[in-house]
């Protein structure tokens, strides 16, 4: 009650943060952006088939990657790219993320950086004060007037693939290292979520995108086409002169402290060892190339690329592996540790958002098409794609990645029995310095036998290679521990 006897409604404390993000998702997808495709589908499904067409209806809630992944990016302060034709809502979604982070619309619009061929480093980052330039006797005397957008929690770069290569390098430093430097002055960007847009799926715009910048992108999301069922909404927006990204309701806006708390809660979500093992089992195969070298450690695609060769050159009938079964034949490359980190972080965020206690294989399955979208290059010459039913994967990259993971899931399950002794052996080697010389020698012998057995029983494919490298590494650590004890012979 106020002093004059009127009823006053007190400032409300937010309920749970998960609930708030879920409400944000619902509001954006039901009232603002209206995506028609829910391509992150969970739970068992009922399949309705008619001829070649199969439609899956899932039991649990499905989500649109076009809305959910930007939200996950906001939660994790990572970096994503929207790709798609003009006018599909890429910038609108990015602006909505900025509004959710509490920035007013005018500030957000001014802060969007628009890529164009004449964009200089100064335009992007800032420039020295002219008076300082004239009077300065050394670089330290020059003060830089940094652009305001650099310190915002949400950063939007429109058409990043139209930025000149030299300016891309300056952007790279900011995105990758979190700081920018001019005239020996530094500005730090702080924890921030990055939203970049590109009109061309291959990232090819006016300038080629430098590989290092592409590698910093954690997730690539495709725009979804507009569906005519929402024409009424568009007509209403014309009538009322409103737009999708005009505002977000006050009760969805997050404070900086709340976003920090979300970050902490997400990082605390556990990833079970078997899920990590599955992820390693899948992605480890993609780096493998049996034809790259005779030496175990160099049987990978990097060896090929350094010799200016491609997988297509060597993945032929000369390689004894079955191209239909082995995933290594499908890709031109593997992925970096940075990509593993992105997948794990987004996995935690997705599990948190869904209220799940931990990351599961299903979480990975839903995320991998987007986290690997731009990271994996298809080997179109692979015999796998010559089969009629697989040709569609040359076009639909998300479906291609998902089918690879599904195959890996099956292989992982089938391979587990054979791998169990190896994993137990690895577990027994976690604290080698606590073992005495005799125990170390015994361990070393066991590893040698395991390697022999592995080679004897299995063909040298991606999973076998992973385990051989693992065992050889364990053997090396054992010998090193023995040497520290003076027991090596």
């Amino acid at each position: 009650m106020s002093g004059d006897g009127r009823v006053e409604i007190a400032q409300r404390r937010d309920g749970g943060l998960i609930d708030k993000f879920q409400r944000a998702y619902r509001w954006i997808s039901e009232q603002a952006i209206l995506p028609t495709v829910a391509d992150l589908e969970f739970g068992p499904s009922v399949k309705l088939a008619q001829g070649e067409l199969t439609i899956s209806l899932h039991e649990q809630e499905s989500f649109s990657s076009f809305i959910l992944l930007p939200l996950l990016t906001l939660m994790t302060s990572r970096r994503m790219v929207f790709v798609g034709a003009p006018g599909r809502g890429k910038t609108s979604v990015a602006v909505l993320m900025s509004l959710l982070a509490g920035y007013p619309l005018e500030q957000v619009r001014r802060a969007v950086q628009h890529g164009h061929p004449q964009l200089t480093i100064g335009d992007l980052l800032g420039s020295p004060l002219p008076s300082d330039l004239v009077q300065a006797k050394s670089a330290q005397d020059i003060r830089v007037s940094w652009r305001d957008w650099i310190t915002l929690r949400v950063k939007v770069i429109d058409e990043y693939n139209r930025i000149p290569t030299k300016t891309q390098s300056a952007l790279l430093s900011l995105m990758a290292e979190g700081y920018a430097e001019l005239y020996e002055q530094l500005v730090e960007s702080g924890n921030s979520a990055w939203y970049l847009t590109a009109n061309d799926e291959m990232g090819g715009g006016t300038f080629p995108v430098i590989e290092a910048l592409k590698d910093r992108i954690d997730v690539v999301v495709r725009c979804t086409p507009f569906h005519s069922q929402h024409l009424g909404v568009l007509a209403e927006r014309i009538a009322s002169a409103s737009s999708a990204e005009q505002f977000v309701p006050d009760d969805l806006i997050f404070t900086a402290a709340q976003l920090d708390e979300v970050d902490r809660e997400i990082r605390a979500v556990p990833v079970p060892n078997d899920v990590l093992d599955l992820l390693g089992f899948f992605l480890g195969q993609l780096d493998f190339c049996r034809r790259a070298s005779d030496q175990l450690e160099f049987m990978n695609k990097d060896t090929l690329h350094l010799a200016n060769r491609r997988v297509a050159h060597v993945c032929t009938e000369d390689c004894p592996l079955d191209k239909q079964l082995n995933l290594c034949s499908q890709t031109e490359n593997g992925v970096s540790p940075r990509t593993y980190q992105s997948i794990i972080h987004y996995g935690k965020a997705l599990a948190w958002f869904r209220g799940a206690g931990e990351v599961t294989a299903e979480t990975l399955r839903q995320l991998l098409p987007w986290t690997l979208f731009d990271k994996l290059h298809i080997n179109p010459q692979s015999a796998f794609f010559q089969k009629a039913e697989n040709k569609v994967y040359l076009i639909d990259r998300a479906a291609w990645i998902r089918q690879m993971f599904d195959r890996a899931l099956q292989q992982h399950a089938a391979y587990q029995k054979a791998r169990k002794p190896l994993l137990e052996l690895q577990l027994g080697c976690t604290d080698l310095d606590s073992l005495n010389a005799a125990e170390l020698k015994h361990k070393s012998e066991a590893i040698r036998k395991a390697i022999q057995e592995l080679v004897r029983r299995n063909e040298l494919n991606g999973p076998t290679h992973e385990d051989l490298v693992r065992l050889k590494g364990l053997h090396s650590r054992c010998r090193a521990a023995m040497a520290r004890r003076g027991g090596a012979k």
Binding site: M1, G5, R12
Partner: protein, 287 residues
């Protein structure tokens, strides 16, 4: 809205415009149903009760409309055609009917008190439903706090732990008394001592309050509440024809046959079962 003063009309328009800006869950249709129905009725009663002080009536109406606005935005008032929470019921019925009779200098504090009480209850959906059903025809806005307290004391008082090895009391509850065609389907716990029973064929849901010493009572039709997970260890229950063995002790359950569904409420000390072909519930109470 012809009888509304201009200031109230302006306030309604402002609240309508503000609604989607403040609340992700804003429902303009629901807001306008309350404005054009209960609010209008309340204004007419207020004008009749206090014809010489329209300013006071207007102030009360403005406070009320702002609370309705907040309730719609936060989802306490969700449906246009019926009340689904105690707070909804208060704003839709109790306040419009009874507040005009309250002395004008006290109306603000009564509004605030009702809101705070009802919003507090909303944190426990089953409590909100229980109070909503119980207070329907008996509410006194000036004594509402005492009334709610009187209702809640018996249901919130700690009960002695159930002794499953002792004697059992059997109660048969005929749900037909509440709803003519009700056929018990899914039974689940909504709170340690509250059970929801869904109709097998329709969307009706009945609530039952489990109380010791044979005081279990049918609450009536309720909104389906969220399921509650009781962490207390449940006794081992096995059903045979017309009987159950609970924690090793046999209990006769005449005419049950084999149960259609059943649930244990271990904290409250009850086992509840329905039959395949009966509108009754068999309720077994532990000592």
């Amino acid at each position: 809205m012809d009888d509304w003063p201009t200031e109230l009309e302006r306030l309604v328009c402002q609240l309508q415009e503000d609604g989607p800006r403040r609340y992700a869950g804003w429902r303009d249709d629901v807001f306008m149903v309350i404005v054009c129905g209960p609010a209008k009725g309340m204004w007419a009663r207020m004008a009749h009760a206090e014809p010489n002080d329209p300013a006071a009536a207007q102030r009360t109406m403005a406070d009320y409309l702002r609370l309705v606005h907040e309730a719609v935005g936060l989802g306490y008032i969700r449906q246009a055609d019926r009340a689904t929470t105690f707070l909804d019921e208060c704003l839709r019925f109790f306040i419009p009917f009874h507040l005009p009779q309250v002395e004008s200098s006290l109306r603000g504090s009564v509004l605030a008190k009702v809101w705070n009480l009802a919003e507090g209850l909303a944190r426990e959906p089953w409590l909100s439903e229980y109070v909503r059903i119980r207070l329907r025809s008996e509410i006194d806005l000036m004594r509402i706090e005492k009334q709610i307290e009187a209702l809640l004391v018996p249901v919130l008082s700690p009960t002695r732990p159930a002794v499953w090895a002792g004697t059992y009391r059997i109660l048969m509850l005929n749900l037909r008394d509440e709803c003519e065609e009700f056929l018990p389907g899914e039974i689940y716990l909504a709170a340690p001592a509250v059970v929801c029973v869904r109709d097998r064929r329709h969307s009706t849901c009945l609530g039952i309050l489990l109380q010791r010493n044979g005081a279990t009572e049918l609450l009536g039709e309720i909104d389906a509440l969220p399921a509650y997970s009781d962490d207390t260890a449940a006794p081992l229950v096995e059903f045979t024809e017309n009987a159950a063995t609970i924690a090793g002790r046999r209990v006769e359950l005449p005419c049950l046959g084999r149960p259609h569904t059943w649930v244990a409420a271990p904290t409250a000390g009850f086992v509840i079962a329905s039959a395949v072909d009966s509108q009754r519930l068999w309720i077994v109470e532990a000592a």
